[in-house]
């Protein structure tokens, strides 16, 4: 997918961001420029610029409280639910300002799905969990279309074979890893373009984690994925690009391999070698 507006024409574009994408033919899915965010009087993000490439996995790493989850939640405006949260800056999805007054946040979230830290299936059946999004967005004309969406989403999340015989059973009855894949199925059921994942494996055991990581790699073909993780090995395994945050600032952003082997910033080096964090 091609950005509707070249990034270079964005007024607030800064050197660091242009550097990050220099010489790269990637198409930009989400572009953030000069994002500042406050919780009340406390500033949580300082002038963050980033370009998220389409059909890539971008991971955000950094110590706890560095603002990476907060920044992720800017992309689908989940921070709107926090009354004291204030955002300045420009975030564009395919060139359209997502904070524009004309954008309905409901439509935005249909295009930018989210998977949370703790698996949070609705206390409903497996089928209803996946069907909920298509239902409220009117994506299925009839029952058989809905069945198809549910099946394809569960297949997409690698869960179909395990649950095909018990779609009518509660989603909470699944194991933690299955629940998280159910949440992924629920997110992809509305055919989003971007999927945000906020530490999706932090509540899972290593085997379930490996399963989700494989899945993320598969999903990359159809979706743009942004993942927040505390686990640097995970960032290294699943992402093509990594952004390192520290105290609300984007310190370094680049190809994952380069960032982990030869970072430009000494602070990045210190973090990935475990000197702090």
């Amino acid at each position: 997918m091609v950005a509707a507006q070249p990034v270079s024409t964005l007024a607030s574009s800064t050197d660091k961001a242009t550097e990050a994408i220099a010489g790269n033919a990637r198409s930009v899915k989400v572009a953030a420029r000069g994002v500042n965010l406050w919780y009340g009087d406390m500033q949580a993000l300082f002038d963050v610029n980033i370009d998220i490439a389409a059909n890539e996995v971008t991971s955000f790493i950094g110590a706890s409280g560095c603002g990476k989850s907060t920044f992720l939640r800017c992309f689908n405006r989940m921070n709107d639910t926090i009354p004291i949260c204030r955002i300045k800056g420009d975030i564009r999805l395919d060139g359209n300002d997502i904070n524009d007054k004309s954008i309905d946040v409901v439509q935005l979230r249909a295009r930018v799905g989210m998977v949370f830290q703790k698996p949070n299936p609705f206390p409903k059946t497996i089928y209803d969990n996946v069907a909920y999004g298509p239902r409220i967005h009117g994506l299925a004309g009839n029952k058989s279309e809905l069945d198809e969406i549910v099946e394809n989403s569960l297949k997409g999340a690698g869960l179909w074979e395990e649950v095909r015989d018990r779609l009518g059973q509660p989603g909470n009855g699944l194991s933690g890893g299955q629940q998280q894949r159910l949440c992924i199925a629920r997110a992809i059921a509305v055919s989003p373009e971007v999927i945000l994942m906020d530490e999706p494996c932090s509540a899972l055991d290593p085997i379930a984690t490996a399963r989700i990581e494989e899945l993320i790699d598969e999903l990359r073909e159809d979706f743009t994925i942004v993942i927040v993780t505390h686990n640097m090995q995970q960032a290294g395994r699943v992402s093509q690009r990594t952004a390192f945050f520290h105290l609300g600032k984007l310190i370094e952003f680049g190809p994952t391999e380069k960032l982990f082997t030869n970072p430009n910033q000494s602070m990045t080096q210190d973090y990935i070698t475990g000197r702090f964090g």
Partner: protein
């Protein structure tokens, strides 16, 4: 694996457990403290249970004589010329009943003694005879047998509440009444049966004719009005305040005031109902509509607080999940939050209504303690309620009302138990686990 190069740690002062004097004393003090706490807890529970048993026991014992009613069998003759078959409703049934009583005692003919025999039978007997004739006009000109309630003193005498061995000036039945009573017993004209009147009749001046029908219907209409007003209002207010209202000074003030409202003494609400609903709005006194409006004011904060706490207990992750998928805030609340909070909301509502059912003071102020002998036929017809009926009966001097007051209390407690049990059942039944 056991490493062979390790030796057991040397134990100071033999045994390894601390055995110094101080530590033994400390241990004893701790155990004593544990025992004291345990004993205090058990003692408190025992006292509470004891009080409950005493309360229930005394009420049940006091009510025991109210559940049966003594009846007298009369052979009533309806003279053909006394009742007009076209209009059987209007006739002098009281003299017909009196005559049938005199017939039982042909030897008693002085007016003074006849007055005594007449007083054996409830003054309501004539209405039973009338209803029987109205239902079956064929009876005109015939004689039939009918059970009519005994008057209260005879009822109490029969149940042993009045001790016949007391000197005549210390009991409320005189010797000639006791004589007549004995003749009725010997004649097998007395029986004791379940007191259906307690549920099928409205209030009356005569205990043997008084029942709770009016109060039960009154309480039903009261709760209906209370529910219709406070349930939708309370839930809507709670959902707005909890889910949508901005958190600012103004909503803080509202929140504090709602919590304060729950602590306002109920009689104040009665005064408000009297001043506003009756005096300013001009609504009639003693009607369930006004009572229900007053009780809604009291129930509203209970429902709002219960609903808000139920909404608070819905995990935020469910809201995130719904919002993250693109549900609007309203869809999130109606599709996910409310269904999950519903058990708590319903429980709170039922408990609020149970409180309203037992509330007396505000109803006294708006006149729902009036003496009303017919069950209400709607929310605009004057009536009493269960607690005010208890209040009225408690205030009545007749012996029969003493036991009936306790019986009415048991009926009220019964309804409260049923309502609370329903709340528990709903909570268990609708609970969604996650």
């Amino acid at each position: 694996m056991i490493s062979s190069d390790l030796t057991p740690a040397s134990t100071p002062s033999g045994g390894g457990w601390a055995t110094s004097k101080e530590s033994v004393a400390r241990l004893r003090r701790r155990r004593a403290a544990d025992t004291r706490l345990w004993a205090t807890g058990i003692g408190a529970v025992a006292i509470a249970l004891g009080l409950l048993v005493t309360l229930l026991g005394s009420i049940i014992a006091a009510s025991s004589t109210a559940w049966t009613q003594t009846s007298i069998r009369l052979d009533v003759t309806i003279p053909a010329d006394a009742v007009d078959p076209e209009n059987p409703f209007r006739a002098r049934y009281s003299s017909i009943v009196d005559q049938s009583i005199y017939n039982l005692f042909p030897d008693i003919d002085t007016p003074e003694e006849q007055r005594v025999t007449r007083s054996m039978v409830s003054s309501g007997a004539q209405f039973l005879v009338r209803d029987r004739v109205v239902a079956d006009p064929e009876l005109i000109g015939q004689t039939f047998s009918i059970w009519v309630p005994a008057a209260d003193p005879i009822d109490q005498l029969h149940k042993g509440v009045i001790d016949r061995d007391l000197p005549p000036n210390r009991r409320s039945v005189n010797d000639s009444q006791i004589n007549t009573y004995d003749r009725l017993v010997a004649d097998d004209r007395l029986r004791s049966a379940f007191n259906w009147t307690l549920f099928t009749a409205a209030d009356s001046r005569f205990p043997e004719l008084a029942g709770l029908k009016g109060a039960l219907w009154g309480s039903f209409y009261l709760l209906l009005v209370t529910f219709l007003i406070s349930f939708p209002t309370g839930i809507a207010a709670a959902i707005y305040l909890e889910e949508f209202a901005p958190k600012n000074r103004f909503t803080d003030v509202i929140e504090v005031n709602i919590n304060n409202l729950a602590a306002v003494p109920s009689i104040i609400f009665g005064l408000l109902g009297l001043a506003v609903f009756i005096q300013i709005f001009g609504l009639p006194r003693s009607v369930p509509l006004v009572g229900g409006m007053v009780l809604s004011l009291m129930t509203l904060p209970t429902i709002i607080i219960a609903t808000r706490s139920a909404l608070k207990q819905v995990p935020p992750s469910i809201r995130d999940a719904a919002l993250g998928i693109g549900a609007s805030p309203v869809q999130t609340v109606t599709h996910h939050v409310i269904p999950l909070a519903l058990p708590g909301i319903l429980t709170g509502t039922i408990i609020g209504l149970a409180q309203a059912l037992g509330e007396t003071a505000p109803l006294l102020l708006i006149g729902m303690n009036a003496f009303i002998t017919a069950a209400p036929d709607g929310m605009m017809s004057p009536s009493t309620a269960l607690p005010t009926q208890i209040f009225i009966w408690f205030d009545s001097p007749e012996r029969g009302f003493v036991a009936r007051t306790s019986a009415a209390i048991i009926v009220l407690l019964g309804f409260l138990v049923v309502m609370n049990a329903t709340a528990i059942f709903l909570r268990q039944r609708l609970q969604i686990k996650w």
